[in-house]
């Protein structure tokens, strides 16, 4: 005769068994005195356990009204929604700022040649423009990172006078350079641009030495800020400038009667930096460049004394080209290679006119 296991009797007393199990156990208990004794012992143990645990109850208190629980739940839900709204608001604000920053980066003045502000003064017929990508900030940074590169390569035909853009620039590049793959598209643009700018025959290029301050060389003369047309009329020929860049200021110092004056054309790059193209008698240009001062701008220089943005700073480089008794120079915060390419291009433009 099989007796009932102890755990089954616990489950039986706890009503944890099915109805059929209960009937089976009850029928056995009716016949088995031993199992009845065990059952009674388990029932006593169960009752004693319940009594012991009953002593451990907390002091009885009247439970709070359920309405209080409901209000608390509503308050927590409201707080959760408020936090969610706050998080969403913060996220949308961040997204808006990021979008604005991206838009300003892509469409603003720093965009790589996408939007070029019109020149402040421009009365000339349309001319082939210098691709703005050459001077845009990312490319400029690439230029600064790239190693110095010789520009004394074989002459390349000048680009046809088509609309500005990268296509004619890329088409004019040498096949080897044009097929050069990334990693740096900006570097590629720089190299192709240099290839395009190698248009002038070999001329004497002379980097200007570090400027010195406190020179006792007198540079007399009156500088006049003039309009583009006025300056061009006085010069009698097109002013030296880089096509495609907005002209910020034109200043002229009148020379002797019938002598071409000394001219300084300031133009702004898309990065905000200013480059100056200087053209005039070789002596005057040399004196002007010799008088520039890095930390203490010479008030005799045009535009320096009355506009802080016109000062030469320590990052400015200068490249000059002797053309008989005249001199052409470009100064600005660009690598020497870029300035050299620009002045070659500028010389070619002026020779063709």
């Amino acid at each position: 005769m099989r007796h009932i296991p102890e755990d089954e009797l616990h489950a039986y007393l706890d009503q944890g068994l099915s109805r059929s199990q209960c009937v089976e156990i009850e029928s056995h208990l009716a016949e088995c005195g031993s199992c009845r004794a065990v059952r009674d012992g388990i029932a006593a143990l169960r009752d004693r356990t319940t009594a012991l645990l009953a002593r451990l109850g907390p002091p009885r208190k009247v439970p709070p009204a359920f309405e209080l629980i409901r209000r608390c739940a509503a308050a927590q839900e409201s707080e959760r929604r408020r936090r969610t709204r706050g998080v969403l608001w913060a996220a949308s604000l961040v997204a808006a700022v990021a979008f604005g920053w991206s838009a300003s980066y892509l469409l603003g003045p720093g965009a790589a040649g996408r939007v070029m502000p019109p020149p402040m003064i421009s009365t000339e017929a349309p001319q082939p423009r210098l691709p703005a990508a050459v001077l845009s900030p990312p490319v400029t940074k690439a230029i600064e990172r790239s190693p110095s590169r010789s520009v004394d390569g074989p002459p390349v035909a000048p680009p046809p006078p088509t609309a500005p853009g990268r296509e004619p620039l890329a088409a004019a590049a040498t096949p080897g350079e044009a097929s050069r793959p990334d990693p740096s598209r900006a570097t590629f643009d720089h190299e192709t641009a240099l290839a395009v700018l190698q248009t002038a025959p070999a001329v004497e290029l002379s980097p200007v030495a570090t400027p010195r301050g406190g020179s006792d060389v007198h540079f007399d003369g009156v500088w006049r800020t003039m309009s583009w047309d006025g300056a061009q009329a006085e010069a009698g020929q097109p002013l030296p400038h880089i096509n495609g860049l907005p002209v910020v200021q034109v200043q002229v110092q009148g020379g002797e009667q019938g002598k071409r004056p000394l001219m300084v054309v300031a133009q702004q790059l898309s990065s905000g930096e200013v480059i100056r193209t200087i053209e005039g008698p070789a002596t005057d240009v040399s004196n002007l460049l010799a008088h520039r001062s890095m930390s203490d701008p010479d008030p005799r220089l045009p535009g320096i004394a009355d506009s802080g943005s016109f000062t030469f700073d320590s990052t400015d480089h200068t490249m000059a080209m002797q053309l008989g008794d005249r001199m052409l120079a470009i100064t600005g915060a660009l690598p020497s290679d870029s300035l050299r390419a620009m002045i070659r291009r500028l010389n070619a433009q002026m020779r063709s006119k």
Partner: protein, 172 residues
């Protein structure tokens, strides 16, 4: 659902408080946790609210116990004493209200394994075998076995406690 919860609140709140009190040994805290259980139930709308209430109560009590252990360790470190054994110290109010037998039962309950104690307290709170099995992960058939062991050990431990107390009283 809200009406069902309201009815359940009326019938189960005291059991939940008692269940929690036997775990945190702080009447005020047990009531706070019990109310938190019902607040969560209103937010979650469980399908089986009764079992869900005890499951959440067990989780809250477990978190509370962990926090209490951290607090005790922190205080122990601050005092520079060696790490004390996890021992529930009743509040001053409890000391007044509880007699030696209650302390003995509390100590006896502390001798059980966590699983045995959990199942015993769930059963005492009124949960059925299937509900206990669903909450603890045990098979339904194993609940009776575990309960049998837990009851026997609790009573044996309580008897030992009474014996030790009697001997201590006789010596003093």
């Amino acid at each position: 659902m809200t009406d069902e919860l309201e009815q359940l609140y009326a019938t189960t709140y005291t059991a939940i408080v008692r269940f929690l009190y036997r775990k945190v040994w702080d009447a005020e805290r047990a009531e706070d946790l019990a109310q938190e259980v019902f607040v969560r139930a209103l937010a979650h709308r469980p399908e089986k609210p009764r079992a869900w209430l005890f499951a959440v109560a067990a989780n809250l009590a477990r978190d509370e116990a962990r926090a209490a252990v951290r607090r005790r360790r922190h205080l122990t470190l601050l005092k520079g004493d060696p790490i004390a054994q996890p021992r529930v110290s009743p509040s001053a109010e409890d000391l007044v209200e509880h007699d030696e037998q209650v302390t003995a039962v509390q100590a006896a309950l502390g001798t059980l394994t966590p699983r045995d104690r959990e199942i015993l307290l769930l059963w005492d709170a009124g949960l059925s075998y299937p509900e206990i099995a669903a909450q603890t992960g045990l098979a339904v058939g194993a609940v009776g076995t575990t309960l049998a062991r837990a009851r026997r050990r609790l009573v044996e431990a309580h008897d030992r406690q009474n014996t030790q107390m009697g001997n201590h009283a006789a010596h003093s």
